[in-house]
């Protein structure tokens, strides 16, 4: 129906992933902030995971648009 849902999913997770990755890098020296997450920079890891997922969905959306 009209749009390929993989595209908005990929775009949204790429934006959110990039946002959290940058935020994770900026706050990477803030040890107090990450005390509650057991010392793990959970923003950086989640951000990179989401960015990877987002780019994968964008790739799948692009691939399904290519004429066979």
């Amino acid at each position: 129906m009209g749009i390929d849902i993989k595209f908005p999913i990929g775009l949204m997770f790429s934006i959110l992933g990039l946002l959290l990755t940058i935020f994770g890098l900026i706050t990477s020296s803030d040890t107090v902030m990450y005390t509650r997450s057991l010392g793990i920079n959970v923003n950086l890891w989640s951000g990179m995971g989401m960015l990877t997922f987002g780019l994968l969905m964008l790739f799948l959306a692009w691939r399904s648009k290519k004429p066979k």
């Binding site: 129906m1 009209g2 749009i3 849902i5 908005p8 999913i9 775009l11 949204m12 997770f13 934006i15 959110l16 946002l19 959290l20 935020f23 994770g24 706050t27 902030m33 990450y34 509650r36 997450s37 057991l38 793990i40 959970v42 923003n43 890891w45 989640s46 951000g47 995971g49 989401m50 997922f53």
Partner: protein
């Protein structure tokens, strides 16, 4: 704010704003494709199987489910997985292989319309009206729960939260109809999984993995007075269901298998139009059959996302110096519904915290939008078109007219949901009671649809009477029994108290068993005593024995429904044995 409250930072709000911009953007992008009633109310029957499958499961993944099941994880442990494995998988496989060919192939646009084609107008009318009321109640209660959560946890204004959430749901369902609801459910599925995954990983790391969790859980479970539970009761599923007293669910294996595994789950997954509508929107008969099977795969793994953190919360609650706390209802009695909120606060810093809160908001909205989109279809086709303004000879004019009515029904549904939410805030118990009562139709409805699909002798008069008889017996059983410790008549015993169940869940299971059995017996007996009004030709495509078998599906072997069903049942069996 309660002690689980917290404040969000700019990054958390940014995550939320980006998510809601995409939600509304999808509705906006779909607006120009909504050219007729079929596109708006049935998604043009164009959904790929994977989209319909994820929407199928996301509709069921509302926030009351996420919050409630995490709390149940703390209260009942891995026994809660019965709602995800035996309480869902057999029903989803049955729906896919045996029922979807009739729902989809009959060209019925809704479950009530299938009842009209198979039986008669009065059976359809009864189901349509009960379903329409039930969806609005569910949507209103979900809206109320969201607003109350935002008020207590984030300190947001109750009225503002209510109106804002209603406006967002109205925005994307009005613009893009069922397609928009389904696409957003797929988006919501991914945001819920990704938003809650960090909590699972962090609490598992904190407690030393699964073996660490088991070790720390054993002394807590063994010392739960006055009960005498075995140390591994919280990490097993069937091992202690030999007697109701040996497990915290308070139900023995037969009650779980027959009550939950058969009657309740088949009644919910196979006949609830809110769920079945997702499969009916699929692009082909094969895609429609594969929809529940694709949904079943994530369904089996959702317990690891929401039940395991609940079990971990029980350990944290009893662990000295963990800093983990839950709001108390009374001294020593915790409100487990806030478990997921407390875990978000325990482990997540700004950034991913916004993601976790967005996941919760998304799950609330998927519940609301699902109900509203199912309501507008049933209202337009099964009530308005049947009783107020039937179809005319002008096919194009009709389609435009019903598109307009569908849009109006969306606005009406959201406004009435807001009213229901305010009623819930004033008379919460009464709303809970009404929802309990209306959900009692599921078990008798399954009996009637099952008999209709697989026994051509079933008659319309018998089905209608069987449906009513099952509903009345469910009401009587609820009115004559109470769960132990019930504080209000909402929980039962509002006629008299003839029997006390150890827990509310046992009462629910047996209510469903009695309702289903009564409905089935009455329908069979009356069918034998009444004349079949429909000819074999009328019932073609609606009854198993009168419908030509589908040939081998023209898709690769790995996309065939039977292949997927074998895969789903195999995974389900392995998980059940693993956590026996």
């Amino acid at each position: 704010m309660i002690e689980t409250g917290f404040t969000l930072s700019w990054i958390d709000y940014t995550v939320m704003i980006v998510y809601f911009a995409f939600v509304l953007g999808i509705g906006w992008a779909l607006k120009r494709y909504m050219k007729d009633a079929n596109a708006f109310l049935e998604a043009g029957r164009s959904m790929p199987a994977w989209v319909a499958g994820l929407a199928f499961i996301s509709t069921n993944l509302g926030a009351l489910e996420v919050m409630g099941m995490t709390g149940s994880g703390a209260k009942y442990g891995m026994l809660t997985t019965h709602f995800y494995w035996i309480g869902a998988i057999p029903a989803m496989v049955f729906l896919a292989l045996f029922m979807m060919p009739f729902y989809y192939g009959s060209k019925a646009r809704s479950v009530p319309e299938y009842l009209k084609l198979r039986y008669d107008e009065k059976t359809r009318g009864l189901n349509a009206i009960l379903f329409a009321v039930m969806t609005i109640l569910a949507s209103g209660i979900s809206m109320y729960a969201l607003a109350i959560l935002m008020e207590k946890v984030l300190g947001w204004n109750f009225h503002l939260s209510l109106v804002l959430s209603a406006a967002i749901v109205l925005g994307y369902t009005y613009l893009g109809g069922l397609s928009s609801a389904i696409y957003n459910e797929v988006l919501q599925f991914f945001i819920i999984v990704i938003g809650l995954l960090p909590i699972v990983l962090l609490c598992m790391k904190d407690l030393g993995g699964w073996s660490g969790l088991e070790q720390q859980l054993a002394p807590i479970v063994s010392n739960m007075s006055p009960h005498k539970y075995a140390p591994d009761t919280w990490t097993t599923t069937w091992k202690y269901t030999g007697s109701a007293a040996a497990n915290p669910l308070g139900v023995e294996w037969y009650g779980i298998a027959a009550g939950l595994g058969f009657v309740l789950s088949f009644g919910y997954w196979c006949t609830n139009f809110l769920i079945v509508q997702r499969a009916m929107s699929a692009e082909s008969a094969t895609a429609a059959r594969n929809t529940p099977l694709i949904g079943a795969i994530p369904k089996m793994f959702i317990p690891f996302l929401i039940i395991v953190p609940g079990i971990a919360a029980l350990v944290l609650l009893n662990k000295h110096g963990s800093g983990f706390t839950l709001p108390e209802i009374s001294p020593g009695h915790y409100n487990y519904d806030y478990t997921i909120i407390a875990l978000l606060k325990q482990y997540l810093p700004a950034g991913v915290l916004g993601l976790g809160i967005t996941a919760l908001l998304a799950s609330f909205m998927s519940g609301m939008a699902g109900n509203v989109s199912a309501f507008n279809t049933v209202w337009t086709y099964d009530i308005y078109q049947s009783y107020i303004r039937p179809v005319t000879d002008d096919k194009e004019g009709d389609s435009q007219h019903y598109l307009k009515v569908g849009r109006m029904a969306t606005i009406f549904g959201v406004i009435v949901s807001i009213a229901a939410a305010y009623l819930a805030s004033l008379f919460g118990n009464i709303m809970d009671f009404l929802q309990t009562i209306f959900s009692m139709i599921n078990a008798p409805l399954f009996a009637v649809i099952f008999l209709g699909m697989f026994w051509k002798r079933t008659t319309g008069h018998a089905a209608f009477t069987g449906l009513l008889a099952g509903f009345v017996i469910a009401l009587l059983h609820h009115g004559l029994t109470v769960p132990e410790g019930a504080a209000t008549l909402v929980k039962g015993g509002w006629i008299a108290n003839l029997h006390t169940y150890p827990v509310e869940m046992a009462q629910n299971f047996w209510t469903a068993i009695f309702a289903f059995t009564t409905s089935a017996v009455v329908t069979v007996v009356l069918s034998l005593l009444t004349k079949q009004q429909k000819t074999d030709e009328d019932l073609k495509g609606l009854v198993y024995s009168l419908t030509p078998r589908m040939g081998v599906e023209q898709v690769p072997w790995y996309q065939r429904s039977t292949t997927l069903a074998i895969l789903v049942l195999s995974i389900g069996t392995v998980l059940t044995i693993w956590f026996w």
